[in-house]
């Protein structure tokens, strides 16, 4: 992610996009596209990756987001990335469903019949990933965004501080640590 500044923050870019600033639009696309592409690539199963272009999944999500700027209530940069992540995740799930062939006489098979899984599913298991996603939603928005930004997008603590409006990198780090501990307790309590 680019270093942020009042003129470079996503909020200002969105505002400039609304007045037709093409530079800002390109900057926003250039900023978020690579990071979302990498994320989506880790979440698309191999068989769906063969049918859906990771590029297009992300491109379409970004264009939809830019086309619906009036619908998005901007809180801070972290929330915007989290919003885009959810959009890409929905698109990924849609592509996975689309790629499956369901016989009419059998219920939808939620497991991946051919055994292939996304990179992240290979690492922790599909069921665990779903539990993780569910537990994430139970966290407060700041803690949830802190976990996503650090674990999934690999943002640095200064970047997280800027993205979530924290006063310092160390404050952001402490937010991440507490959020991880809280998430760990919730997952353990299930």
């Amino acid at each position: 992610m680019e270093p942020t500044h009042p003129l470079e923050s996503t909020m200002v870019l969105l505002d400039r996009i609304r007045v037709g600033d093409r530079n800002a639009r390109n900057q926003l696309l250039a900023r978020y596209r690579p990071i979302l592409q990498a994320w989506a690539h880790g979440r698309l199963p191999a068989h769906a990756r063969g049918l859906a272009d990771t590029d297009d999944v992300v491109q379409v999500t970004l264009i939809r987001a830019l086309n619906r700027l009036t619908e998005f209530e901007y809180r801070h940069e972290g929330a915007f990335l989290s919003y885009l992540r959810q959009g890409v995740l929905n698109a990924v799930r849609q592509e996975v469903r689309r790629a499956r062939r369901r016989p009419t006489d059998s219920p939808p098979d939620e497991s991946l019949a051919d055994g292939s899984a996304s990179v992240v599913e290979c690492a922790i298991g599909r069921e665990t990933l779903e539990r993780y996603e569910t537990a994430l939603l139970e966290l407060g928005p700041d803690q949830r965004e802190a976990v996503i930004l650090r674990l999934e997008f690999g943002l640095s603590h200064p970047e997280i501080a800027s993205a979530l409006g924290r006063p310092s990198a160390n404050a952001a780090r402490m937010l991440v640590v507490r959020a991880l501990a809280e998430l760990a307790k919730r997952l353990a309590d299930e």
Partner: protein, 850 residues
């Protein structure tokens, strides 16, 4: 309400996961069986994070520069200047002491870092040429010579020190990497193992320095470099001995030197009191560095020197335990000892501190100098097998004027041709420009960019040249240029340069938006390609590089005509995020053309003058506004506030002359609405009223009249004393929430009535209440009556998924029929593997029916 207290062991392990460290899971679980469940969850999250890191690693662009693509050869480069036998090439940095340059040592054929002491102001009656370095220089040179005797892998190697023509300098090894300060800014507090390793190696350096009888005097994060090594751990290098001095010597001088040349926040209490700095003071500073690496803060902070001294006296220090909970107690005690108020309570020497840190140290992560990303291994999926249901594919030729556009339109333009992009995701048409006649065949030529093109390198970018012809067909490109490195976004901006080298052929400017400096900072660069019989020369004749990271150098580029009357066209480059005296004030740099292209340094500079003024966003050539034979320069500052309560923006005109551009603006206009971004884009209109004076356009894309921020374009007529004070004509945007943005308003004569016409585009245009963005390109015929504010011709997109007018630009007379033509980019368009396209519209003779 305070947060509930966390189990400290759980918090500590969560901290390790947050820092990407690897806890000993078996040990942790064995020692804390009551935390088995949460520890297992943390372990899962660590694996999830590692999986995402692995995917990102595969996606990381290869930032190595292809040696075959014109890599910088310091031996061949023309130097900026010579100092003694050294040839200064590029500025690396500057500070209160002077400047640092990357230089070439021809005697040993190697690159070096050349540090030049700043010259003292000229004494009264002394010519400026006879200025010499300030008196403290002699101490500096003496200590540099002593430092040259220190040979240690963690100490910067000094090759020599001398004075040439009154200017003192020293040259050292050139360390490539990033400072610890930069690492902190980028990543925040470091993992404890890495922090310990860095300071351990630093202490080894200090051991060698102290053994040579020297004290560093300014040990801080900015003076410690991390140099990645391809075959081993990252090398920690202690730099900047500007405050260094002998450990013995005159007490008063040493005390003055210590306080005047060091950095207060890292100074030990005794130095702040005015006592001489000793090796113990360097150890204190090492403790401060360790504290900062772990927390991001200095242990004692204050707003002034006096307040800092008071806090030291009272022993007021930030709590390490609160800022970095979970730090091993032994580590915390060691830092406390290094930060002891009395020198005698600190470790006995740097070697003792290094030994104490050894068991706490881990590997220092280097920033990958070369990322071997095999694109084949991470090849993206080739084709879409099924439609994505979110939007329908646009038709190729149907453009339906939406119902919300007012007024009848005249058939001023006709579709000439469409050229699609090639590579997936390249966003072909994100920028285009008519550059004039590059190959001398009498037809105007155009360049079109796909800055997101990924070929041999990911997101390297691509620009294609299409030669004009009588058929008005784009056809296949006659020339294609590519970015040199991954992530360059070559072609982020393109523009006509004019005839820079005076050979009668038009030249082109192309920006690498993400071009990086030798220490991997994004600085941007602009390449000048000369016209040739084949179209454009294969390699740029000049490449101008920014020198301030993330300043958007090259986001605005334009040939501006011949401002100094030497027969060569000149070039302006904007950097709207430039910080000179004020943060993000923006800057415009002008480079005078010549027979060999452009100089490496600008000939004229302008800065925004206030914080966030954002000078130099978009600009194009305005021509000769006062008809004195010299081209003029119009710049905009959309973030300018002046004395107003809110940001209003403004535009300024600088007249050309025999000595170049004037230093003061001869004309300016301010915005009349807050946040309307007056001056966001500025350009020439040609001589609209045919009075011999070129006229100017100022865009105000955030202006709100009928609706919300529809934007407008203002025309000011040129005259002998500059443009008029009030606009002669105003054009409005089309619907609520639409701005106006374009690649230069001057279209030439589109309809054959002898008057130059104007164009503007907006990809944000939406036709209906659902606010789906279709985009629109519009042509305004030169006004015969001032009150007609609407376009005579327009083209609106019909598909919200791929709006048109990502960029619009005049093409010049592409088909040689004497009429101006128009380029409209649609970078979001796609079909199969193709991504983005450009539409060429040709002017046609018509009668206005307004």
């Amino acid at each position: 309400m305070s947060e509930p207290k966390l189990d400290p062991d759980l918090e500590r392990t969560a901290g390790q996961v947050a820092d990407h460290e690897t806890p000993d899971w078996e040990l942790e679980t064995g020692n804390h069986p009551d935390l088995r469940g949460p520890l297992a969850a943390l372990r899962m999250m660590a694996r999830l994070a590692a999986a995402h890191r692995e995917v990102r690693r595969r996606f990381e662009p290869d930032r190595s520069v292809d040696p075959g693509a014109g890599a910088d050869d310091p031996e061949q480069r023309e130097p900026a200047f010579s100092w003694g036998f050294l040839r200064a090439l590029d500025p690396i940095g500057e500070g209160s002491f002077g400047e640092v340059w990357r230089a070439w040592d021809p005697s040993l054929e190697r690159e070096v870092a050349l540090k030049l002491r700043r010259l003292a102001p000229a004494a009264e009656g002394v010519p400026a040429l006879l200025r010499t370095s300030d008196p403290a220089t002699r101490y500096w040179l003496d200590e540099a010579r002593k430092l040259a005797r220190v040979r240690h892998p963690n100490v910067l190697t000094v090759h020599g020190a001398a004075q040439h023509e009154g200017r003192a300098g020293l040259w050292t090894e050139l360390v490539r990497g990033e400072s610890v300060e930069a690492r902190l800014a980028r990543e925040g507090p470091l993992p404890s193992l890495e922090a310990a390793r860095i300071v351990r190696d630093l202490c080894r350096a200090l051991t060698a320095v102290h053994a040579a009888g020297l004290v560093h005097g300014d040990v801080k994060a900015a003076n410690v470099m991390l140099e990645p090594a391809s075959d081993g751990p990252t090398r920690v290098v202690l730099m900047d001995f500007g405050a260094a001095h002998a450990a013995g010597g005159d007490r008063e001088t040493r005390g003055w030197l210590a306080v005047s040349t060091g950095t207060p926040l890292v100074m030990s209490p005794e130095v702040l009191r005015g006592e001489p700095a000793t090796p113990a003071a360097d150890l204190y500073a090492a403790g401060v560095l360790l504290f900062r690496l772990l927390t991001g803060r200095h242990p004692v902070e204050a707003e002034s020197l006096d307040a800092l001294r008071d806090r030291h006296e009272r022993g007021e220090r930030l709590s390490l335990a609160e800022l970095r909970p979970g730090l091993p107690p032994a580590f915390a005690r060691l830092i406390d000892r290094a930060l002891a108020k009395r020198p005698e309570d600190r470790p006995e020497g740097a070697a003792e501190l290094a030994r104490a840190l050894e068991p706490l140290a881990g590997p220092v992560r280097g920033r990958m100098a070369v990322l071997a990303a095999s694109l084949a291994a991470v090849a993206l999926v080739v084709a879409i097998a099924s439609a994505i249901a979110w939007f329908e594919r646009p038709s190729d030729t149907r453009f339906v004027p939406p119902e919300r556009l007012p007024g009848p339109q005249v058939a001023a333009m006709r579709l000439g041709d469409i050229a699609p992009g090639e590579g997936r995701g390249e966003q072909f048409g994100n920028g285009e420009a008519g550059i004039g006649d590059a190959n001398g065949d009498g037809f105007a030529d155009v360049i079109v960019a796909g800055a997101h093109f990924s070929g041999a390198r990911y997101l390297q970018g691509r620009v294609a040249l299409f030669l004009g012809n009588a058929a008005g067909r784009l056809g296949k490109p006659a020339w294609v240029g590519y970015g040199r490195a991954a992530g360059d976004y070559y072609g982020a901006f393109v523009a006509a340069a004019g005839d820079v080298n005076g050979d009668g052929l038009a030249d082109a400017l192309i920006t690498d938006q993400a071009a990086r400096s030798s220490d991997h900072q994004e600085v941007g660069s602009v390449a000048l390609y000369l016209g040739s019989k084949q179209g454009l020369e294969p390699e740029p004749v000049s490449r101008v590089t920014g020198w301030q990271p993330h300043a958007r150098f090259g986001a605005a580029i334009s040939g501006i005509g011949d401002v100094n009357g030497d027969g060569y066209a000149d070039v302006a480059i904007g950097a709207s995020n430039w910080s000179h005296r004020h943060p993000y004030e923006g800057a415009v740099f002008v480079y005078f053309g010549g027979p060999h292209g452009l100089p490496s340094r600008p000939d004229w500079r302008l800065f925004g003058g206030e914080r966030d003024a954002w000078l130099g966003a978009l600009m194009t050539r305005v021509g000769d506004v006062n008809h004195d034979g010299y081209a003029d320069l119009l710049v905009g500052s959309p973030g300018w506030k002046g004395g107003h309560a809110a940001v209003v923006g403004r535009a300024l005109l600088y007249l050309g002359g025999p000595h170049g551009l004037a230093t003061k603006a001869s004309w300016s206009v301010e915005g009349d609405q807050p946040s309307a971004a007056m001056g966001y884009a500025v350009g020439g209109a040609g001589d609209v009223n045919r009075d011999g004076y070129d006229d100017v356009i100022v865009l105000q894309p955030g202006w709100s009249g009928r609706g919300v921020r529809e934007g407008r374009m203002l025309l000011y007529l040129g005259g002998p004393h500059g443009p008029s004070r009030t606009p002669a004509w105003t054009a409005h945007g089309f619907s609520a929430a639409t701005g106006l943005s374009s690649g230069g308003p001057a279209m030439g004569d589109v309809n054959g009535d002898g008057l130059p016409d104007l164009q503007a585009g907006s990809w944000l245009y939406s036709a209906s209440a659902d606010r789906r963005q279709l985009g629109i390109a519009a042509v305004y015929l030169s006004p015969r009556e001032p009150r007609a504010p609407h376009p005579a011709w327009y083209l609106a997109g019909d598909d919200a998924g791929t709006p048109i007018a990502a960029w619009t630009a005049p093409a010049g007379d592409f088909n040689g029929d004497g009429l101006g033509d128009l380029l409209v980019g649609q970078s979001g368009w796609y079909r199969g593997d193709q991504r983005g396209r450009v539409l060429l519209f040709l002017g046609q003779r018509t009668t206005s029916r307004r």
